[in-house]
């Protein structure tokens, strides 16, 4: 009787924690470095150059910048995929949320800049849109992926190195909300 009761109690109270957010990570590539060239768009020299820009940025300013090219979005919207990828990788420093992702999916012909909450005042929505339309797209449309990625990277890194205040950036970018 006591044995039965103890089994019941132990079984019953061995309550598992609620499962963590289920992320289907089958489609996520491994975070192998600051440049994850899954779609094979970059030469080793270009990768090295981008990596060193990201490394210098983190060392001198703080934010973590990662470039990722993807062979496939697995049928998902790039906005959703990008957020999940950023969270899965844990880009940016805990507490500061200062991760920045440039995502290029040549098969779906999509590009996106995913900004950690902590950087939204620096890399604003209008600025990110402008980097895509002015730096990335003109190059991507003619197949110049490395040039587009590098131009977008330079614009983003310059912005993160900018000495302007949040208020100045807000006004210059025309941020409403």
């Amino acid at each position: 009787m006591t044995l039965l009761l103890s089994l019941l109690l132990l079984g019953g109270f061995g309550c598992g924690k609620a499962p963590p957010i289920v992320v289907d990570n089958s489609g996520f590539p491994a975070l192998s470095g600051r440049v994850v060239d899954g779609a094979d768009l970059l030469s080793p020299a270009q990768e090295a150059r981008l990596s060193s820009k990201s490394e210098a940025l983190e060392k001198e300013v703080g934010p973590q910048y990662v470039v990722v090219t993807l062979p496939s979005l697995h049928g998902r919207p790039i906005g959703e995929y990008g957020v999940d990828l950023g969270r899965h990788w844990g880009i940016g420093h805990r507490g500061r949320n200062d991760g920045l992702l440039l995502i290029v999916a040549p098969a779906e012909r999509k590009v996106r800049i995913e900004v950690g909450y902590g950087l939204e005042r620096r890399v604003t929505d209008p600025f990110a849109a402008r980097v895509i339309s002015e730096q990335a797209l003109p190059n991507f449309k003619v197949g110049r992926f490395p040039e587009g990625i590098e131009a977008a990277t330079d614009a983003l890194v310059n912005r993160l190195r900018s000495k302007s205040t949040d208020a100045e950036i807000r006004q210059a970018d025309g941020v409403v909300t």
């Binding site: 109270f13 609620a18 919207p77 906005g79 959703e80 012909r109 929505d125 849109a129 797209l137």
Partner: protein, 203 residues
């Protein structure tokens, strides 16, 4: 006989520890998490509401004859900002539905506004319009992400209050009710121009 009493003594603390460790306390934690995610959803929708007056006045400058579309957006925005869901109402599916309906009407009213850029090239050439549209698109992406996060948090909370022994705490101590998930039509899913290398719009 002696063995029995020993085991009973051993078992009681185990049960007590388990109950406080992961049963009862997990309910307020999961509840607070879901409420925080709901606050994110409302903040994202509020961000969209804040953009609309600027968008409307920019469009009015370039396409004054489209007053009907603008009036409809303005009206839908006013209606939507009047409907809110307090944390206590999260277990009320009808309140959630009213909120979703109001936001969905606003989403629908924005679609013709976005299409105006094709009819009025002067709009597209206005830097201000592009700036506002890029913020609208980002905000709508944010809305979708916050809704997904909220629904995940609600599922976790609902699982917690239905799982033994948290269910004991749920019934006896907190009177916890399951929360409702949120179902909105994806804002402008059909027209929200994801940036595409092939097109000149939507960047």
């Amino acid at each position: 006989m002696k063995r029995t009493s020993l085991m009973t003594v051993f078992l009681v603390p185990v049960a007590a520890v388990s109950l406080s460790g992961c049963g009862v306390n997990s309910i307020p934690t999961a509840e607070e998490a879901a409420k925080a995610r709901w606050a994110d959803v409302q903040a994202a929708y509020q961000r969209r509401a804040n953009l609309i007056p600027n968008l409307v006045s920019t469009v009015r400058g370039a396409a004054a004859s489209e007053e009907r579309i603008l009036t409809r957006v303005t009206q839908a925005r006013a209606d939507a900002t009047r409907v809110t869901v307090s944390p206590e109402q999260l277990s009320d599916p009808a309140a959630m539905q009213r909120y979703a309906d109001a936001q969905n009407r606003l989403s629908a009213s924005i679609i013709p506004l976005q299409r105006l850029q094709e009819a009025y090239p002067t709009l597209q050439s206005q830097a201000n319009f592009g700036t506002l549209m890029s913020q609208l698109e980002s905000t709508e992406n944010r809305i979708n992400i916050t809704i997904r996060d909220y629904n995940t948090a609600v599922q976790s909370y609902n699982t917690t209050i239905r799982t033994f022994p948290a269910v004991i705490g749920a019934k006896v101590i907190y009177g916890a009710k399951p929360m409702a998930t949120f179902q909105a039509t994806t804002p402008n899913a059909d027209v929200a121009p994801e940036v595409n290398f092939d097109t000149n719009t939507g960047a």
